[in-house]
């Protein structure tokens, strides 16, 4: 037993002896674990949330942010799953890359999704655009693009960038993928004409792609859409006029995407988009703690000042807290053996990438 746990034990003993405290969350400090370095998406979100979270909790606890980079965030998340305290003093910022690693069965992952309870979820969806050289004339113009050789530049095969390849492949296009690029590099390659398909998040799209669309260098093509808490896929609220991939699929094939391919698609979508940026408690947290955090985060998400401050970085999507967040969390599950086998085979034949068995 180390010094720290002795203090904690004493503190608990003392607090048990006292009459129940007025606040629901009787902690003086919140440790936020960010499994990435400073300056990344998760870190930015947490640092934006911190002051509002302090205000929203009655005894205004200090928020201490601990960045634990390395290993793609996996070791830090493993550690959190094992060691986080249940009294609400430990919370974790999760990001889509960790969800995706879990969905793709990275052997390093040592936790289950149900070991966490989400208290805040910010979805983040990409928008896809193509070059007019593909033959496309308008948004969703699959017919015009028929027969075009698509070329896409992505980051890693096991990152969210795979969604572009998967979707265009399922639409029946021959898409060649080149890897090892930064997201900005992919766009520059697109501007240079080396790639003719690309995607960006809403914020980056508004900044860097909208001018290209206005100049006629790029054509907005489709979105993935987002999953709402009832589990339905709806059009991206930022682009209500742009069809989703599933709509286009139905139009092209005259039947909805189904079977293991659909399940695999849904799994990847849940991991990369729906729960893209989340803040979670360990599932060992007591009901009071979960309730206190849920209420605090509802207050944060409802604060116009917070919405305004994060409009750019979070893309202006609806933010989910409380039961909605937990319902959304339910949409992220491990793939069934069938779906995983389908995905493994797809990866191997189309991208030449081996998924762990």
């Amino acid at each position: 037993m180390n010094f720290k746990s002795i203090i904690t034990a004493t503190a608990i003993a003392v607090s048990l002896a006292l009459p129940a405290a007025a606040q629901e969350l009787a902690i003086g400090r919140i440790n936020v674990t960010v499994p990435f370095g400073e300056g990344g998406g998760s870190d930015t979100l947490v640092r934006a949330v911190a002051p509002y979270l302090t205000k929203a909790l009655e005894n205004e606890p200090t928020v201490l942010i601990r960045n634990e980079p390395g290993g793609g965030g996996i070791p830090s998340t493993n550690r959190f799953a094992k060691r986080a305290k249940s009294d609400g003093s430990d919370i974790l910022a999760l990001s889509s890359s960790i969800f995706l690693a879990k969905t793709l069965k990275s052997p390093q992952i040592d936790f289950q999704f149900d070991e966490f309870v989400p208290v805040f979820i910010a979805p983040m969806a990409p928008i896809f655009y193509v070059s007019p050289t593909t033959g496309a004339q308008a948004t969703g113009d699959v017919e015009g693009m028929r027969g075009a050789q698509l070329v896409f530049g992505g980051g890693r095969q096991d990152s969210a960038d795979i969604m572009t390849v998967l979707q265009f492949d399922l639409l029946g296009f021959d898409i060649k993928s080149v890897w090892g690029l930064e997201r900005g590099g992919g766009r520059i390659g697109f501007e240079r004409g080396e790639f003719n398909v690309d995607h960006q998040t809403t914020a980056a799209y508004v900044r860097s792609v909208q001018p290209l669309v206005d100049e006629g260098i790029a054509i907005t093509f489709m979105t993935t859409g987002i999953i709402d808490p009832s589990g339905k896929i709806v059009r991206d609220p930022n682009f209500p006029d742009v069809p989703t991939f599933l709509e286009l699929y139905q139009k092209v094939h005259d039947k909805p995407l189904s079977g293991p391919a659909y399940e695999a698609y849904l799994g990847l979508m849940g991991a990369t988009i729906t729960t893209g940026k989340s803040i979670v408690l360990p599932s060992s947290a007591t009901r009071e703690v979960v309730k206190a955090y849920s209420e605090a985060f509802s207050q944060v998400a409802g604060d116009p000042a917070f919405r305004d401050a994060t409009k750019e970085s979070l893309g202006g999507y609806q933010l989910y807290t409380g039961e909605d967040a937990q319902a959304l969390w339910g949409t992220v599950t491990d793939l069934s053996p069938d779906a995983y086998a389908w995905l493994t085979n797809w990866y191997e034949t189309k991208v030449g990438f081996k998924l762990p068995r």
Partner: protein, 648 residues
């Protein structure tokens, strides 16, 4: 443009610019800490600041790092940051000859000229930049990277075989981890720790800084060759004016290299140094204290930032580690880099340019004014500087990945670095291999995927660059062949330690051969690059072994024989560094570093208890303040966690 200037001067932004510039000088002077470390310290503060003030501070910090680093490079012989490694080559010998002030004045003046030139180029290119970057497709970028690799030939020193083999070793070390083309894990020995590849900072510190610190500790008592500032400030200014062509040319190269995504500031100084030496008529003084070596390097490393900002701001593609952090800082304060920087955010863009120009003037100005005071650093005995350096590098390393295992990596690469230094393997060649590997492999693979050979060879910029590369290679090889045979007596003395000179080439050969065996069962796209690197490395290491066996003079080198003798034993020195790493890994940074500092100062510097206490408390206070301010924390110790934040 004027509006941006008014914003900068008329608001608190100016104050933040000053603060940033001073922090940059400080980070620059502290060895091993560079722009990237400074940015990672700064980023947490930026959140919630006015974009103008935040950018003034960030640019101010980045701009002066390569001014401040001149001081430690010249006076201590330890590079203040990665971009002034080449300054040491001539700056330090000058200081030893009593010409420290001359070297510094020349360095500061060329720094400010280079920095202003960078700001000027940035302004000019902003309008046409978009078109220029669009001309530079993957094939052109590939050729630029190859240009960087070709400079290895010039940096190899006496033996080309040594240069090539150590550069191949750097490439192989950097290709550990994720293979970009096939997405496979390679050469990771089955360790998850290696799956993201070796951390650059730990390797660079190991190879470049550890051998220098070992040297500092060893020569502790040979006070006579400790340099003083000397005189000749005015002479330094005259030197710069006399060599304005070098200043100008190096600044251009600095801007160009800076604008190349991924190449960055840590290589430009070597490229420029090589170029300065090549183009000089009288080469006899280079490496022994030629002011032109300082002028060229210092002008280029300040110009880098101006160039690096072009792709960073306009396309969101950073040119170096520190601009990658600048990019995250921009996004942090709500600015999305991209063509929008020329329209909506044009004022902020101009403000950054003004900040760049002003910070360079502030940096060089304060260096000129306070050079005498800063020079007093050199009056402190090395036994007092070395332990603080060790603490500084461990802090910088832990700050990046928060992983104590990186400290052991420093020891491993420190050992390799010491051997490289002793036996004449070019450390810059290693670094160029290490830094360029990723980009080289990626752009080779991407270019091969997207272009056919004939498409590749019919691009005009590719052809021009190809011609330049071939010319550079040919002239370097020609110069190698022209070298005069050395003093016979010295060769015979060196030949006596031949058995130990076999160690490194044998180890390298084993490395290359086992790498070849390990990558064999990967997919072709995943193994091609390491196979070529290891193959080339193996061939040159074997040639080297053969040369050693028959006693070819160019292959023989041992600084232990030719260099100065030290009073403190090598093993004794190494033991201290190992002790520092073990203490910090076991008890956390603060407790471990305090124990080490206290012990070192007591035994080696024979300091009084009060002085030890002041030193330990002072430096730990600074680091504690920094970590708390930054809202970051360092990892717990393995045995006992004595980290301060557990107890407040």
């Amino acid at each position: 443009m004027l509006e941006a200037f008014q914003t900068l001067v008329g608001t608190s932004a100016l104050f933040y610019l000053f603060f940033g510039a001073l922090l940059g000088l400080f980070v620059g002077i502290l060895p091993a800490l560079g722009g990237a470390a400074g940015m990672s310290l700064l980023i947490p503060f930026l959140y919630g600041m006015e974009p103008a003030a935040a950018m003034a501070m960030a640019i101010g910090m980045l701009a002066t790092v390569s001014t401040g680093d001149t001081i430690s490079s010249v006076l201590l012989g330890v590079p203040g940051s990665a971009s002034s490694q080449a300054t040491v080559l001539d700056g330090f010998p000058m200081a030893k000859n009593g010409q420290g002030a001359r070297a510094l004045a020349a360095g500061f003046l060329s720094s400010v000229i280079g920095g202003l030139f960078g700001a000027f180029v940035l302004t000019l290119t902003l309008q046409g930049a978009k078109q220029v970057i669009l001309w530079f497709g993957m094939p052109e970028i590939l050729m630029m990277i190859l240009f960087g690799v070709a400079s290895v030939a010039a940096l190899s020193g006496k033996s080309l075989a040594k240069g090539i083999s150590i550069c191949a070793f750097g490439m192989l070390a950097a290709s550990i981890g994720f293979a970009p083309a096939s997405g496979e894990q390679r050469l990771d020995l089955g360790l998850f720790y290696l799956s993201e590849g070796l951390p650059l900072l730990a390797c660079v510190i190991g190879v470049f800084v550890i051998p220098e610190i070992v040297d500092l500790i060893q020569q502790n008592r040979s006070i006579s060759d400790r340099p003083s500032l000397g005189s000749g400030m005015r002479q330094g200014v005259v030197d710069v004016l006399r060599n304005k062509w070098i200043v100008f040319r190096s600044a251009i190269v600095g801007c160009l290299v800076g604008a190349m995504p991924g190449v960055g500031g840590s290589v430009v100084d070597w490229i420029v140094y090589g170029q300065t030496v090549r183009s000089a008529r009288d080469k006899s003084m280079f490496g022994k204290g030629d002011v032109r070596g300082v002028i060229g390097v210092e002008s280029s490393n300040n110009a880098v930032l101006g160039g690096a900002l072009v792709p960073t701001l306009l396309f969101g593609v950073p040119g170096s580690g520190s601009t990658a952090l600048l990019l995250s800082a921009l996004i942090l304060i709500g600015i999305q880099p991209g063509p929008g920087m020329l329209t909506q955010d044009i004022n902020l863009t101009y403000l950054m340019i003004w900040s760049l120009a002003l910070a360079n003037i502030i940096g060089a100005g304060s260096c000129f004014l306070f050079a005498r005071h800063l020079a007093k650093l050199t009056l402190i005995p090395f036994a007092w500087i070395a332990p603080f350096l060790i603490v500084a590098i461990t802090f910088a390393t832990l700050q990046i990945n928060r992983d104590p295992r990186d400290l052991f990596l420093i020891l491993v690469f420190g050992a390799i670095g010491i051997a490289m230094r002793r036996f004449g393997f070019s450390r810059p060649a290693f670094l160029i291999g290490f830094v360029l590997q990723q980009n080289l492999e990626k752009s080779l693979y991407q270019t091969a995927q997207l272009y056919s050979l004939s498409e590749f060879l019919f691009r005009p910029i590719v052809l021009v660059l190809l011609a330049v590369i071939l010319a550079v290679l040919a002239s370097s090889v020609w110069q190698q062949l022209q070298k005069q045979p050395e003093d016979r007596e010295e060769i015979e003395a060196i030949a006596k330690t031949r058995p130990v000179q076999f160690i490194l080439p044998i180890l390298l050969s084993v490395c290359f051969a086992s790498a070849l065996a390990m990558v064999n069962d990967l997919q072709p796209l995943g193994r091609l690059f390491p196979q070529v690197a290891a193959g080339l490395g193996l061939v040159s290491a074997l040639i080297l072994l053969w040369q050693l066996a028959v006693g070819t003079p160019s292959a023989l080198e041992d600084q232990r024989v030719t260099g100065p003798r030290y009073s403190i034993s090598f093993l004794h020195t190494i033991a201290w560094i190992v002790a520092a790493v073990l203490l910090i890994a076991c008890f956390g940074f603060f407790a471990g570093a305090s124990l080490f500092l206290g012990a070192f100062l007591a035994f080696e510097a024979r300091a009084k208890p009060l002085a030890i206490a002041a030193g330990v408390v002072g430096i730990m206070g600074v680091y504690l303040f920094l970590t708390f301010q930054a809202g970051t924390y360092l990892p717990d110790g393995w045995i006992l966690s004595l980290n301060p934040w557990d107890h407040f």
